[in-house]
């Protein structure tokens, strides 16, 4: 391993840290929202800190069960064959996503939209 390699690794790690902390800094706030997109359209927008359940109807009449509880959003059931979306862990931070490709469903956390 040469010096150049070490510099490269350090630069990459520094870039990762910069983006990580920058992102957190820009997204401070406590009233985040769980936003569900089906395809490109916004399907639902719910507060993260209120417990709620929603049966999402996605592409091709596929369904995903969204559960918001204790400040986390999770997909607990789905009609898709692979159920990758169900295995993805619950999300709670702005930017995190749960994706169901077959149903074209994206569940993500966003900063509260100022009405």
């Amino acid at each position: 391993m040469k010096k150049q390699d070490l510099y490269l690794i350090l630069i990459l790690l520094a870039a990762a840290a910069a983006v990580f902390f920058g992102y957190r800094l820009l997204n401070q706030g406590n009233a985040d929202e769980v936003v569900v997109y089906v395809g490109e359209e916004e399907y639902a927008r719910l507060p993260l800190h209120e417990d709620e359940e929603l049966l999402i109807t996605g592409a091709g009449d596929g369904t995903n069960r969204l559960v918001i509880k204790d400040g986390q959003a999770d997909v607990t059931e789905a009609s898709c064959p692979d159920k990758i979306c169900v295995h993805q862990h619950a999300i709670s931070e702005i930017g995190e996503t749960i994706v169901c490709m077959p149903n074209q469903v994206i569940v993500t956390i966003e900063k509260e939209r100022q009405e």
Binding site: V19, E40, D82, Q88, I91, I94, G95, T97, M101
Partner: protein, 167 residues
Amino acid sequence: MSKKVATWGMLVALAFLLSYIETLIPFSFGVPGIKLGLANLVTVIALYGLGEKQAFAVSLVRIVLAGFTFGNLSVMLYSLAGGVLSYLCMVLFKRFTGLSMVGISVIGGVAHNLGQLLLAAFVLKTESLLYYFPALLVAGTAAGLVIGLLGGMVITRIRPYMEQNIS
């Protein structure tokens, strides 16, 4: 001729095996289709042991083969996106910078993940995936580092035999 076929076949088989091992390791982010990129080890070995064109050929064959066998079309597309960007970056940096195999491998690992992330962002039409950029950077760097070190050990031992077989 048959030695050439055997060597290439062995490399593809090795990459194929690494792709399979990847499927055994749970690695789920908020985005489906993202993988570790272990098979990059073979790309790096082919790049340093045989050459640029050969590395590309071995990678392409492996991606298509593994895609059909272990995944579906979507997995293969992500593999392709990651593999192509990874290969391009590795070749460019190898030609124009003084990085050693370790550095090139790190570039390959990071580019692999970046390619997949870019494809996901394009397919899902969202920029929110930027959230995963730091994690993928770190994972790509770590994977690249390990592969670079392993690759170095492998190349010093088998390069003479590879050249023998191909020429």
